[in-house]
């Protein structure tokens, strides 16, 4: 079973450089307190998974140090591994085994005694809502079920720190919410420290006590979601014209008040440079142009605004422009 619950995660100047490639992780510093949920937010290829692989001891860092649960990730790998649970990017499951067989294997490999294995496995399968499907082969599970089993397996030995690498990517909203609830419960009720990487703003917003935003291997912002948004974010005004043909004209008017932002297919949006006080001016400008409005909404600042302010790009689609060699631990040979 896991070593006693203690410190969280401390990272100093951590670097990972790949042969003939850029620095996937370029000197990051961070600290996650015990019992905290830390959201590591960034686009594809930003360095999130590489960081997780280093912190879980599956990839040696090129430079820098990190301590996980009080243990050095390079010198005390086995202690780190006994203190952590991890659900890495793809749910790494064997499609030919059942959920229960996965639990048996995982608990046995962690050295849990035979009598405890069944009870521990059953308890975890029940907790993630898989007791009915426990004897079915994993190949027939839905994406959400696989992710929940992945989480149960990560918890098999009662770790004090949990690493979740993009745990809800590709899941429907119902499965995503269920997983968020379980992760929140683990931190709140069991004091588990959670290091969660995500490219979903709402996930970081909903779950994390603190958020680190990573881009091109460097942390560009860190703090509580509220503080980050208050510091940098600007509200977005979104409008839908009564006549769909007026959409482009509407967008041009809104652009007078700030740069264009993502909106619904029928509407247009802009980030207000002057904050919410500009809303009245927006209404007057639209009225002055004779554009009839069906709907007008003011959105609070988001973490995407924070990302935009720090990197000059929107988080959505930012990963498409520069794919760095995201690490695969076992593929690093």
């Amino acid at each position: 079973m896991a070593t006693e619950r203690q410190e969280g995660i401390e990272v100093e100047a951590l670097v990972r450089e790949f042969k003939n490639g850029p620095r996937a992780v370029d000197g990051i510093d961070l600290r996650v307190d015990a019992g905290e949920i830390y959201g590591f937010l960034g686009p594809n290829g930003a360095g999130k998974s590489t960081t997780v692989l280093m912190l879980t001891t599956l990839l040696p860092p090129t430079e820098g140090t990190a301590r996980v649960a009080g243990f050095d990730i390079v010198k005390e790998g086995p202690h780190v591994r006994s203190s952590i649970g991890a659900a890495l990017q793809e749910a790494a499951l064997d499609p030919l085994l059942s959920g229960r067989e996965h639990m048996r294997l995982q608990t046995a490999l962690h050295g849990i005694g035979k009598p405890e294995r069944e009870t521990r496995g059953q308890e975890l399968l029940e907790r993630v809502g898989l007791s009915e499907a426990a004897d079915r082969k994993v190949g027939g599970y839905s994406g959400g079920m696989k992710r929940r089993l992945d989480l149960a397996l990560a918890l098999a030995h009662g770790p004090s720190i949990l690493f979740l690498d993009e745990p809800t990517t590709g899941l429907d909203i119902q499965s995503r919410t269920a997983l968020w609830d379980e992760v929140g419960r683990l931190a709140a009720e069991e004091g588990v420290t959670v290091f969660l990487t995500t490219q979903y703003l709402e996930e970081a917003d909903a779950l994390a006590n603190r958020v680190g935003i990573i881009d091109h291997g460097q942390i560009v912002a860190e703090g509580t979601p509220a503080a980050l948004k208050a510091e940098i974010g600007r509200p977005t005004v979104e409008a839908t014209p009564r006549e769909p043909s007026e959409r482009e004209r509407l967008a041009t008017v809104l652009e007078r008040f700030g740069e264009r932002a993502g909106a619904s297919p029928r509407g247009a949006a802009a980030r207000l440079e002057g904050g919410e006080a500009q809303l009245a001016e927006v209404v007057r400008a639209l009225d002055g142009e004779g554009i009839a409005i069906e709907q007008l909404q003011l959105h609070a600042p988001s973490l995407d605004d924070v990302f935009l302010a720090k990197t000059g790009r929107s988080l959505e689609g930012a990963g498409d422009e520069a794919e760095e060699p995201e690490a695969k631990a076992v593929g690093a040979a």
């Binding site: 599956l58 390079v74 793809e90 790494a92 995982q106 076992v330 690093a332």
Partner: protein
Amino acid sequence: MSSGLRTQVGQLAQRSVRRTLRQPAQIVPALVFPLFLLAVNSGGLKDVTNLPGFPTSSYLTFALAVPFMQGALFSVMNTGTDLARDIETGFLNRLALTPLRGAALLSGLLAGTVLLGLVQAVTYLSVGLIFGAELVTGVAGALVIIALSVSITVAFGSIGLFAALRTGSGEAVQSLFPVFFVFLFISAMSLPLELLQTQWFHDVAAANPVTYLLEAFRSLLFEGWDAGALALGFGIAAAVLIIGMFAASRAMKTRLVRT
């Protein structure tokens, strides 16, 4: 072996056996393909037994050694592909996060290969005997044939493990199959070594270890107990296993880069 290591090997062996049993697509071709070739060859080449110096009057008996080797070649592919899939899906990462030892992983993975080797050996031998092949060494000889077949299957399986760990790709492992098949063709597969008249082919076959593995089976089938042939057969299997496991262990250290 410590109890922890025993548990690890046992659990991974169970998984390996379950996986093998749940993949009929792995088992069926490894049984059907060699038997199909046996039927074709023993029918088409039966007159070869009239050649002066041919050691048996039954070409089926002579050719029955070949399926055991072909089955072992399938084990390279099946064992290697299973491990490569674990690497590709990240399952090996999951295992790497547990206190699992590399030796336990390799040994456990070969458990499924042992099962496959056993099923193959019993099937080939039974079908051969049903269709009239000789077995001059009797029941004891049958048991030794099964033991030799399983040994060779496991030995070749270790090469599959090495290939999987080195390349991390199921496709790369499967591409080894034709390469290994060439080794079978350039051996004394169709004729005894002494009757291979073309000098270069004779020399290549004489240097090919597969020839001596075939001769070990043939000694039990129609010659009688031959300690030298058996020692050579089991010795080659042991050497391949040692080399395969050594190479696989080295590749495992590079592949499992955990600190």
